[in-house]
Symmetry: C3
Subunit: 258 residues, 3 copies
């Protein structure tokens, strides 16, 4: 049975994610649906991009991923099907695939145009139900992207959140705050060739920060710096929430003096 995963900002309070499951299973009952998340913050394409880049590479070849964080639904934005990591990803062409495709060069990209696979009529506000779900379900039995659209060369990219390395400092930002309140920066750990002498987040130097290998090496309540599980500089509070303690949101500047 083919695997179809779902990543949306619909929440599970609303019926939208459940409706997509119904449409997928009605078109092709021979698939297994795996929920990745329906709690991407509403319309937060950047969070969605990080989420997909972090999760998709772990899935087996041929998995079909459907990602719907789509504030431009019903406008001229198109829908992209990309093949990357030996898998397929279907997403609005609004930058949602920036993280994934910048890291894993796509083997191909297609713009979804073949409307006879869609539900009819197509609504102006719910393409998850009317286009994404039926296309994914049919792709599971016919993994031939060219049947669903035309080859694409361009894609929308989110403006970068670059980090830069200077003589004695590295400047980046908080790219993601996880459910524990840990701050995941966009600074790859291998840039830290020398021990940091100080680190600032959101313009404030973190006083009393300990560099550790894992959370349990410091006492509860202590502020620590470490390498995140996907290889970035991370700031955490042991058994606490760094984001709340420091009053920091995603996007905050991170500056490391080495």
């Amino acid at each position: 049975m083919s695997l179809i995963t779902l990543t949306t900002d619909f929440g599970d309070y609303s019926p939208y994610a459940a409706v997509m499951k119904g449409v997928i299973l009605s078109v092709n009952s021979d698939v297994r649906i795996v929920d990745l998340s329906h709690r991407i913050p509403p319309q937060d394409v950047r969070h969605g991009s990080y989420f997909l880049a972090t999760t998709i590479p772990y899935f087996p070849p041929q998995t079909i991923h459907v990602a719907v964080v789509d504030p431009g639904v019903g406008t001229e934005r198109s829908i992209l099907l990309a093949e990357a990591c030996g898998q397929f990803v279907l997403a609005p062409d609004n930058g949602l695939l920036t993280g994934l495709l910048d890291l894993h060069r796509p083997a191909g990209m297609w713009r979804i145009t073949e409307s006879h696979f869609w539900r009819s009529p197509v609504s102006a506000t719910f393409h998850g139900r009317d286009i994404f779900a039926p296309v994914a379900a049919r792709l599971a039995s016919d993994p031939t992207p060219g049947h669903f659209g035309i080859a694409a060369r361009e894609r929308v990219r989110l403006l970068g959140q670059p980090f830069r390395v200077e003589a004695q400092r590295i400047i980046g930002c908080v790219q993601f705050i996880d459910g524990f309140g840990n701050l995941i920066s966009n600074i790859p750990s291998d840039e830290l060739s020398r021990l940091a002498t100080s680190i600032s987040v959101g313009g404030s130097e973190l006083v009393g920060l300990h560099w550790v290998r894992t959370y349990g090496e410091a006492a509860p309540g202590e502020l620590v710096g470490l390498i995140s599980s996907d290889g970035f500089v991370e700031i955490a509070v042991v058994n606490g929430e760094a984001s709340r303690r420091l009053g920091v949101a995603a996007g905050a500047a991170v500056e490391i003096i080495v």
Copy 2:
């Protein structure tokens, strides 16, 4: 493998939904369980009714839906099995099926009475575990409703939230607020034969409202009126939350002057 879907107000913080999955799989391991939602607001039968009416019709024939929003658990309220849209729905007879069965006339209804299919003893507070789960699991291998109870003619109906059309106005209410804060009214879009000249929600006229086809046709922060994906008049704030902006809760009056 048969499909069994779950819709509850249990949350996933509590063990109750997981317990139901265990019971279902212990009775019949040859089923696929699909979560629709465990985040129906606690004991909110009206929200559950809207949710089920909006989602169930999209599922394939023979799907078995289990819905537990059940403030009257353990009292004299009975448990209803209905066949509608070629599918089965198991729910407390407390109005939870109002939306679905008002739209899709049931081919049959049964009151669950055959207690030898239940867990024993039956608790007074968790029929999801003791009755709904084992009955659904057995129904998957024996789709003969009459084996589980007796034919029923009546069902509890929620008091309507009717809309009424007058010479120059249509009066209805907000039937649902989704996870984006969009207000979904109960006024079908085809009642809007003439362009609305003004619209009020909760007694306040919405000044500066634009009528659009989809969210992206107005600027971020603008208040828009449009047709929801299931065909009702909807009020939204582009990239924002209309419910918060307007301070409106489900049930608020909606008045359209045409």
Copy 3:
């Protein structure tokens, strides 16, 4: 297809639970993954212990349960595989299995040591991805615990939350507050051989409490005492939230005068 369940404190806002699903399916695509919960409160081992003890016994034999509430990840704490209720449970050895294994004596326990089954290199902060997921996926095709580690005799136990019975009173605590705000104490209902004459929670006597069999036997808003679905003394507010009304958190003292 083998069943693997997941119980974590990762939330579904973060990518961690989705990553574990990807790793499991990449190692062994022939498994069915069932989400129990990803909403155990962050690092709340006691809540996790209650959750697992309440849910696992309902699952079929041979189910593999993976539980990750793991504040000590990356430290010397080991990972335990236990066989109980004819099923397997994989969890950090931090007390998370206290509730389950105190109720259901394990047929065997092993400490996970065979690192050639793990992802390599193993991160210091995400053993869910690097150890738990691949071990569970391989255990599904080779249910021989001894292949994955060495027999263990000891396990970490949470300090008990005992109740004690005196001549005229029973003293315990609130062991769990569910999603409805119901307070589930740790006092087994069969200790209540005589009718309670008064009950206090958090030091305050509950005035006007009615003892009922089920919620619907009292009026909305009334404070009731009853037997929970897993057999403990429970305090609830009909159609309301007892935890909020009484301002009580998990762990609060419960005293019953009989």
